[in-house]
Every structure is written in C-alpha cells, then in structure tokens.
Symmetry: C2
Subunit: 219 residues, 2 copies
C-alpha cells in the first residue's frame, strides 16, 4: 500500500512539476526517479515478500516468482539508469556523470544487486550448486538482500534531496508545495522500507521448510 502510493506520487510529481514523461533529451530524466523506485524499491520489495506472502506454495514456484520479480526490478533499474545518463549526455552542454554521493551510492547498489542476482541464479534457481554451497550462501543472500534494499532506499533519499535543491534552490526553504511533496515521498519511502524489513526479519512470518522441498530444504 505504501509502495503503490509512493509510485503514484512520484508519477504525479514528474507529471505535474516536470512536464511528464517523454524520452527526449533532458526530459528523459523524469523516468529516472520513477523507474529506479519502481524497480529497485517496489518490485525488489515484492520479490522479497514472495517467501512471506505465499509461504504455503511449492518451493520451486516461489523461486521462479522471486526470480521473475527481480528480473523486473533489474529491467526497470537499467532503464532508470539509462534515463539519467541520457538526460546528462544528450543535451547541448552535457552534465558530468557519477560526480555525486547519490550516484556513487546508486552504482554501488546496482552492482551489488547484479552480483546478488547472479549468485541467486546459480546458487539456488539453477540445479548446479551442492547443498553445502547453498547452506553457506543462504545467510549471505538474506543479509545482502536486506542490505541492498536499504541501500536502494537511502540512495533514493539522497536523490530526492538532490532534486529538491537543484530544482527548488532557496524556494525549498519556503515550504513550497513541491518541496513538501518531496519530503512526504521521502517519509513514505522510509515507512515502506521499515515495513518490508519488519515483515522479512520477523520469525513468525518465515516459511516453514517442507519434506517435499527435498534438497532445497534450507529455507
């Protein structure tokens, strides 16, 4: 619910205050906040929740669902990155790339996500790893799963802060509507992140391993 509201607000923000969505020169930027949050925050969170919401389904079904949602997260994340690079490069006076703390955090997050995705694919989904390797990998996969999600959230918060200052400059200090909207979206992001982490770490919501899981017994 918080996630859907967040995605709607970002769309409205870009539509109302920044001229909507068109993949054309500097306007390409408007896809960046929407696609990054849709991919790296929203779909990523849904992928995490698969093992909590549908915990009575067969393990292989859950794995495929988890992997598919993470493919969606990856596609939107990649498009979101292309949007920001295009908006920097395809204009008359190109803006340098990767100079800000936001961009450094973002690249770190995306690289960790890609590594995590590959380890997930070869470690758990494809039948190529042995049980010993899976047992070592599982706690690492869980820990970094949450770390990457929190990194995506905090990168988004630095992005909101950057956009507020670049766009509004000193008018940000006057509580203009766009500034307040940005702050509300930031708080929503934090509430969404805390809710998801709570649902994931709470032992009561964990999936109980079943005999039919076979060699996939580790949860």
């Amino acid at each position: 619910m918080f996630g859907v509201l967040l995605v709607i607000l970002i769309s409205l923000w870009m539509a109302i205050y920044h001229g909507g969505f068109e993949w054309y020169h500097e306007k390409a930027f408007n896809f960046h906040p929407l696609f990054m949050v849709l991919g790296m925050v929203f779909f990523y969170a849904e992928a995490i929740l698969v093992y909590r919401v549908f915990r009575n389904k067969k393990k292989i079904v859950l794995k495929l669902f988890h992997a598919s949602l993470n493919v969606l997260a990856f596609i939107f994340g990649a498009l979101g990155l292309k949007a920001v690079f295009d908006s920097h490069n395809l204009i008359d006076k190109p803006i340098p790339n990767l100079y800000s703390l936001h961009s450094w955090l973002g690249i770190t997050t995306v690289v960790l996500f890609a590594v995590q995705w590959l380890f997930g694919l070869f470690g758990f989904l494809l039948p190529v790893s042995n049980l010993k390797f899976k047992k070592i990998l599982m706690p690492i996969h869980l820990f970094f799963g949450i770390v990457i999600f929190v990194l995506a959230t905090l990168t988004s918060l630095t992005g909101l802060t950057e956009k507020a200052l670049w766009t509004l400059d000193k008018t940000y200090q006057l509580f203009v509507p766009e500034g307040v909207l940005i702050n509300v979206m930031g708080l929503l992001l934090v509430i969404f992140c805390i809710s998801i982490v709570f649902l994931v770490v709470n032992p009561n919501y964990k999936r109980v391993a079943k005999a039919e899981d076979g060699v996939n017994l580790i949860n």
Copy 2:
C-alpha cells in the same frame, strides 16, 4: 576503525573548508555534522556493540555501559541540533527551520531515539518492570535499535548531499576535492553502518545468557 576515521574526516572537512569550530552565528553550523555523527552514529554504535564486545562481563555492568554511551549519544545529538538551529536563527536573515527532507528525517530519528531511551531506562535498567513486560519489550527494543541507527545513517547521507549542493553548487559536478571528500565520507558512513548491523544481527556474536543474570535472563 571506520567510525574513528569518519569522525576525523568530518572534523578536517569543517576545519579546512569551513573555517573550523566556533560557536558564533553562522559558524555554529560546523558543529552540526560533527556532533550529530559523533552522537547519533558513533557513540550510538558503540552503545550497541557493548553487548557483543564485552559479552562475558556481568549483565548490570553491560547495561550501565550501554546506557552511559547512549547518554553521550544524546548529549552530542542535542548539541548538534542546537548548533544547526543557532546557525539558522542567530544571523541577520534567519533561515527557516525544518523545511527539508533531511530535517524531517532527523527529527523523526531523534524523537524515536528519545522514546527508545526512555523505554530502555524504565524497561531494563531501573528495576521497575516485570519479566513479562521485558519479554515483550526486548524484540521491539532490538528492532528499533537497529532501525534508529540506520535512520541516523541515512539522515546523515541526505545531510552530506544537502551540504554538498548548498556549498559547492555546480562546482560539485567538476569533482572538486571537497565534493570527493563528501562522497568518501558518505561511503564510509555506509560501510560503518553495514559493519555494525552485521556484528549485531550475526547470531554467533550474541551474548549467551547466564544463570547469574537472574530475572535479567532474557538477552
């Protein structure tokens, strides 16, 4: 180690690029990043680690040490807040307060910290709560302990981003030394945060309850 390095870098940042430390009008600001990180990130993290580093000491000693470090965190946090309000209010053209996402996140963090501190004091340190209440409170205290720490970290990251844009403006895009220093401090903050959370959640490092803990048996 990451934490000490971070505090040193912030001190150098304010000393070299912003004229050092003096509690006088706008310069009071320079205490803000130093004291907030020293209190809400560094000492707060040390307070968390007490139960991991000295896990063979008596429970009551650990509690007092944990509470004392959190008092230090509170004092520096309060001074850090006073610094930013003074720097906004005690100048010719006062700057509005609490308009930014950074400030909203910061106030949320500090309020949650104060509530957490009071619950810790009356729930665990003072001998006024019964075992049932302690058992309910403990997982909440642990969860919010980590949430508040991560909130402090991400608030700092939005603060670094704000300071970079207000101070450097477009020169931030040219990889000037202060900009790179800010980004490095941001990455250090994230690495410090991940290290601390890892040490806290890893079950291998948890304190094992002892018989002598008596009614304080729950860890």
